[in-house]
Amino acid sequence: MDQLVGFGLVAFSLLLFVYYTIWIIILPFIDSDHGIHKFFLPREYSVTIPVIAGLLLVLFVGVFVVIVMWKNRKPAKKSD
């Protein structure tokens, strides 16, 4: 089970890396009437999508931290 998840992660990150590399580095050198451009979004998205994904990640981490700290707050002692 662990191996499945592990190798799945490796395959996913490899796929992502290859797609992104082709998008950023190789596509500008290919003429715009080649068919391969159909598979790739317009170039502006190659910056906006990672930036938004990064912001979402930071948001989730922040929300997680807030939730954990909220659950662990102790009520102030009233008795003595």
């Binding site: 592990g6 990150s13 490899l14 950023i24 170039r43 990672p50």
Partner: protein, 92 residues
């Protein structure tokens, strides 16, 4: 010089290099495909680093072996500790 300062200097150097080439203050015009590659380059490096970290985590997760003997020994020690402590009066 601390490691942090070293890293920051390196980043600043790379950043200035990228800015000089991309924002073109000197007026030397690179060919268009090169500029198109250069613009998202910092984001590309970040994404590449993220992919590398993900792949490393996945690979280590997949190749981590179970340690049967250590697990058994740990369970044994837990049992002994429980017996010990309940003898001394701690309630579970």
């Amino acid at each position: 010089m601390t490691k942090l300062v070293q890293w920051l200097c390196g980043l600043a150097l790379l950043g200035t290099g990228w800015a000089t080439l991309a924002l073109d203050p000197l007026g030397l015009h690179l060919p268009l495909p090169c500029r198109q590659v250069l613009w998202p380059f910092p984001v590309y490096l970040l994404v590449a680093f993220g992919c590398y970290s993900l792949a490393t985590i996945g690979y280590r997760l997949a190749t981590f072996n179970d340690c049967e003997a250590a697990a058994k020994e740990l369970q044994e020690q837990i049992r002994e500790a429980r017996a010990d402590l309940s003898r001394l009066g701690l309630k579970f």
